[in-house]
Symmetry: C4
Subunit: 358 residues, 4 copies
């Protein structure tokens, strides 16, 4: 029963489902296989409880923090989501303006429907990370990185949980393709074709041989820091830290790659412990409320990424909708911080959560 005016992320989710073409909705909403991990990312947050502290002066609460040294106004970053023009004609530029308006980072997908330079131009004052799939064609890959660097993107979020395409059965059943009239510049550059793009086309471009040695080389060669996206295990976090990454995103690709993979909130604690002070750890997946944000902070995340919620905002109401989703999450996070007795994100500790099953 969404109000005429949406007041939470779930309202936007329902609005978006009503508005989107079914195939496109299935692409954005769906997950791999039986969608166990898709659901568990959200449900696992319900196995954790907040343990608030009281009698702290919370007349001034700030949600501001930094990620990789960049000041952001809330510990929520916009996750990379492909093909955003399919959700709203404003596409990635609209999302970039929404993120900039909300005072946070937007992470642009390699397989966006706008070029990095266009996105940068749309929100010149904003902060941006470039999500990167390392293509087999390293020239195209380097061109993408170069354009991102030149356009002022501040980090590369290298996705490593997608060396193979996840089994997205909704897409298989709907025959999903990106509509022919929507361009995907990186794919066009890599294939030399601008016909309609399917997800399989994209994954055919990705280099499945990428390994830790490659990562070490990329860290050396890139002018901007690398964040490793798609990590679930402490030993991988340890190794990533040794390779010199600046950040780790605990993610299972929104439940779209390995079904049955551990929920991000269940994984982030061990990863954060392993990373220690060397590397910033982020959580991506399942965040729908400010209380989820604070739960993630308590388990060791420095900030979270939200993909679908921002996209539902974009789908429902363009830039304003995406911006509104971020503002909802900001005010919910501020409130959760206040009610936990934490005037800032940095005040959140492990003691602020407990599991009800372990």
């Amino acid at each position: 029963m969404p109000a005429a005016d949406p007041i939470n992320c779930a309202d936007y989710e329902r609005l978006a489902e009503e508005l989107l073409e079914p195939g496109a909705h299935g692409y954005f909403a769906g997950g791999a296989g039986d969608e166990r991990t898709l659901r568990d990312n959200v449900e696992a947050f319900r196995r954790w409880r907040l343990v608030p502290r009281v009698l702290v002066d919370v007349s001034q609460v700030s949600t501001a923090t930094t990620v990789l040294g960049t000041e952001i106004s809330l510990p929520v970053v916009v996750a990379p989501v492909a093909f955003q023009r399919m959700a709203n004609e404003g596409g990635e530029p609209a999302m970039a303006r929404a993120a900039a308006g909300a005072g946070t980072v937007m992470c642009l997908s390699t397989i966006a429907t706008s070029r990095p330079s266009e996105v940068a131009a749309a929100a010149p004052g904003g902060h941006r990370w470039m999500q990167l799939y390392c293509f087999k064609d390293r020239e195209v890959t380097e061109a993408i990185v170069a354009e991102a660097v030149e356009s002022g993107f501040e980090a590369i979020a290298l996705t490593v949980d997608a060396p193979w395409i996840g089994p997205r059965e909704r897409d298989l059943r709907s025959g999903f393709q990106v509509p022919a009239e929507i361009d995907v510049p990186a794919v066009a550059a890599a294939t030399g074709s601008d016909g309609p793009v399917s997800v399989t086309d994209v994954f055919d471009l990705i280099d499945p041989s990428l390994d830790w040695d490659d990562l070490a080389r990329l860290v050396e060669s890139y002018e901007i820091p690398i964040i490793l996206k798609g990590v679930a295990a402490a030993d991988d976090a340890e190794r990533a830290a040794e390779c010199g990454v600046a950040g780790i995103i605990v993610s299972n690709h929104g439940g779209r790659q390995l079904d049955s993979a551990i929920a991000t909130i269940d994984a982030v604690g061990d990863v954060a412990d392993a990373a220690g002070d060397r590397v910033e750890v982020f959580l991506d997946g399942g965040v729908r409320r400010g209380t989820d944000v604070v739960t993630a902070l308590a388990r060791g995340a420095r900030a979270v990424l939200v993909g679908r919620p921002a996209l539902w905002g974009l789908a429902a109401r363009g830039e304003d909708g995406a911006r509104h989703v971020l503002e909802i999450l900001r005010s919910e996070t501020a409130l959760a911080l206040a009610l936990c007795g934490c005037p800032t994100p940095a005040d959140v500790r492990g003691k602020h959560v407990m599991s009800i099953v372990r």
Copy 2:
């Protein structure tokens, strides 16, 4: 399928839902956010089991105990609930008579629809605590406390889990306001207006900067003991004890403030352990049966508070209904004590419960 005559708290809950105006019902029944904690307060009791003892002489069972030295006839205190005239024209005076009739304490809300002196006059023989929101306007706050002290209230239950307003989405969607014809004296005193009151208006008055130092000063300055309401963590209980509070109410504000907060029955054990013999610990939230009362005692509570059950009684049948709810809880508690082999509340021990999940 409630009988013509309600026989348990759930019957009263259904009756009240039928009788109340939807907006008012939503205000009383609702919780914060997704209402996870609202539900979990009740459901968490189902994760605990009673382990009865037998062959104890239970020909005489007494539910009587003391709270802060005051004798009460059952280990159940009436929790503060705002705006009771909205449930029944008898309002807080009717509730006060119900509590006095049942032989227990009524805790009056700061944002009651009757003044403390009126409530005292309505039930002169009764015992009363005054729930206090510390307003930014300390003069108004002190006037409330002074009136309570003068009217024979025996303790101040200082609420500390509500420095900010909880996100009560039912109210947002219903546009809930207290009807204009119902006065809320404390709010009128603080705002100098007697227009219709919304929950937001109330929270605008509350001082979110209250901290442990303030608490220590209040303990020093007040003539009557302070009970800290809204504690969930052992370290906060420790600190409260050091500040000299007389009691601690483990509460999450009935699931109305921090959604995802730990259920009270899951939190009370650690708090009671930390408080030890120095401070009396009470549980507020989720109690619907006498077996819940005994479970709370076994986890270390000295007594419980019930808010909604008493209110549903008031809504359904005025003073008689509220009194009946308390009598139901008394007889259920007596029975649960008898069947656990505990002639008095003081006989209940940790060994009388076990968790089925941990």
Copy 3:
């Protein structure tokens, strides 16, 4: 979808529900309060799993065992159930013949609708225990015991979990009474009236002051062994053993007394450990399958009691139905023993079960 011919206990449960008058069905089927324990007795078995052993010669499997030295053909005893004539005109004599026919013990309720001597006469070759409520009127109580002893009953099953009447809300709502035309001899003897009997009438007779000293005296004075019925805790089992009881029945009165009480299969392990070799331990409550019987044995029970399943058999098809239920349980138990690699009940060990939650 019960077959024309019932093949398991659940089939008989459904048949009985169709046949019984609703008030009587509610009396037999119902439990205390919210019926949490009623349900949990059954559901808790689903939190335990059998771990079978293989390559044991099971060409000969015997379900026979002994209880208090009496040989029985299956580790299942018929639990005491009141007012059996209300289920079927054959009443307790029919149940006694069913038990004797199946080669096991029938435990007769104090508040049966036939006298002990009638029941003994109905099944002269059978084995019988007498369930005893200790009435305030000790003369009547002793007369019941004397008649039982004289009639060849082999033990007294002293119920100690019912010093007060459980809150059976189905009966409250239905206004349940035993129909006037059905006699309850023990109640008539104690009250001197033979008007229609309610459950409250019965409990008014029971002595709630019975304690461990009384038990010790009864053990001394009775000519036949005492089995203590209604124990859930290890320390009570220890004390019962010291008092010289011959057996302990882990029971929560079929979920009819203390709602929220621990399920019997969750309690029996600790009780059996405490009892050791001194006292035989039985489980009563929730058994619906031969696999449940074997689970109970693995947790330390020597045998189980079944109340409702036998009663549904009696209600559906009189003596033949009750007998059939016992034969179903025998063949299911034999099969479960065989498939666990246990040629006899004595071969079942703790290693044959594990919990999936702890």
Copy 4:
């Protein structure tokens, strides 16, 4: 909502249910008793989560492994399922061709509707194991083994979890029998009759006295290795290893024998630990996805067996359907391996899974 073209095992399950005669479907789909174990075999996989590793070169992923030294192209073996001609007229020969085509082993049931020699002739290049029920009539048993050996079967999978027939209530209610026109050669040989076969007829033939000494003798006497099928406990695995078996199949007979038996994925870890390097351990039961296969490997299985999924394929589309099911499982397994960072089955370790309940 299966697509016109089935894309996963669940699609085939639905197709098969539509196509099969209800009695036959009940026989294949059903389990023992309340079907707790039938369901739990599948559901228990949902209590385990995969913990992927990243940045491993997975440009080359092989699902190939060996079982008892035989190279197979995926760690999935076709489990023995009786009466396959009842699912599809192609029967076991079609299944054998499907398995051979997919590059894996087919395990033929003793109570197949084709002789071992026919099945061998149908897929001469394939690998085959012979499932064996040891009949009371050892001559018939040895004749079956001899035919299997002569026909090139590479191992005997001796079933030991079925000394007695499981209580399959669907069959009892449907009156299931194998249609008279379908031959079951082993049963005909043992009974000397070729009338319609019921499951009871089969179990009447099986020797329930088989024990560890018999096993040791069989291991000595057979020319081909013995795999023990139906083990759930570590101590049995230890003893099997001492007897010289080549493999152990952790199985509960697909939930068709001992209801309430532990799910195979919950049992396999302890069995594999006990078996160590001496004996290969396989898991049979509940596998529906490639992620289930990898979960089983992570818990110590060398490969899994699938019964119903392959049968649903056979029922829906004959040999092609069974083959397609195996190809689906192969590609899902390859993908799960890739996304776990394991180029081969041998790379999967215990660290790749964790339980969410323990």
